[in-house]
Subunit: 232 residues, 2 copies
């Protein structure tokens, strides 16, 4: 039994109930088997902070009632996953219009609209193109096999788990907890000083540290430039 | 008489000798008079670090032999300004070719080539377009009226001048000089945490501090996140 703000490491395999197609998993082997393996994704038990709503509702809800090392198979209704299908979200667009924009639509083709909406071409017939703006998994009942691998309770481990979330590569910030002054000092390694979204990662890491681990602390980032570094 | 790495604040007005057209100035009134005023530019005496080669050679060279409050008019040959004109840098391109790329060239039109080179259309005749890749000021003798407004010698003032260079807006980092530990601590204000090129500015500021002011110091940037900041 867990509660809000608990840190869990979780493994799961999620499938569409009808087709048994695997749609999401933390386990590299399973991703390969299902042909959805991505080089960019970091496999292995995933950090879940309860109440954060990063997972679909049905999966997160189930975790509250589990225990460490417990494995469960849960069925999740569309309402608790990616929503019901909304038939009004199927738009009809003229084939000529799309061709003018340089597109040659075919069933299954992804389309991004100028308002940022995203759809999939369902069919093309009689000069009309049917584009479905529903989430591709809307209307699907899902089945997740899920296991709580670890319950993280130590402050230092929680901080490290959040650092791993935002800095999954090998160049990770180190940290030092100064309890007396209520400061978490985070040292950014020079190798990532010019990382494109470094500032955003720092902001999000600080937000989660303060929201979930050290409510009344300050997070201070330190970046040190030396002559050696600058002449390298 | 000044030497390498000296910090000067300098005012100048630069003109093309032949036409007397003003091409560059630190003085807002002069920029307005010459119709080259830019809202983005920060007017007022400019920081010059001798030996940095940020100014054209003829202008920087002249500064070494001046004194504070001295004003001088200097004539600068093309070789010590923007170089001689190179006739081989005038390219002939077919009008049809440019039209295919959606351009309608006219004399004075700036053209950017796919290799990054930049040119100005000189003339269009008989289906041929002459594009000059020389710097627009190549071949020109320049006349600069220049004044050394201040010689900055205090370490703290030098650091402040470099901060002003890289953070010209009102949200400036503060700093603290820790001489015992040979550290310059620079505190970045939270208002600019998400400034697009913050990391580049931090790098360049640190480089100049170490190169020109505090050779054997470390520059440590501090960025502090608080709950108040994150919930704002």
């Amino acid at each position: 039994m867990f509660k809000d703000k608990d840190f869990l490491l979780v493994d799961y395999v999620g499938k569409i109930k009808n087709t048994e197609r695997v749609i999401d998993t933390t386990i590299e082997e399973e991703a390969k088997k299902a042909d959805i393996h991505s080089e960019d994704k970091k496999y292995g038990p995933q950090l879940v902070i309860l109440g954060e709503h990063r997972l679909i509702k049905g999966l997160e809800d189930a975790l509250y009632n589990m225990n460490v090392d417990e494995e469960k198979e849960i069925e999740i209704s569309p309402e608790n996953a990616y929503g019901k299908r909304d038939p009004s979200k199927v738009k009809v667009v003229s084939l000529g219009e799309l061709r003018k924009q340089g597109m040659t639509p075919y069933p299954g083709m992804p389309v991004r609209f100028s308002d940022g909406n995203f759809g999939i071409v369902k069919s093309v017939s009689g000069g009309r193109v049917y584009i479905d703006l529903n989430h591709p998994l809307a209307g699907e009942t899902l089945v997740y096999k899920v296991k709580v691998v670890k319950h993280i309770t130590e402050t230092n481990e929680k901080i490290q788990a959040l650092i791993d979330r935002w800095f999954p590569t090998s160049d990770k910030p180190g940290f030092e907890l100064l309890n007396d002054s209520k400061v978490l000092k985070v040292r950014v390694p020079d190798k990532i000083f010019l990382l494109e979204d470094l500032q955003t990662r720092k902001l999000l890491l600080a937000r989660e540290v303060i929201n979930y681990v050290l409510e009344d602390f300050q997070v201070i980032y330190e970046e040190t430039y030396t002559k050696q570094l600058l002449t390298r």
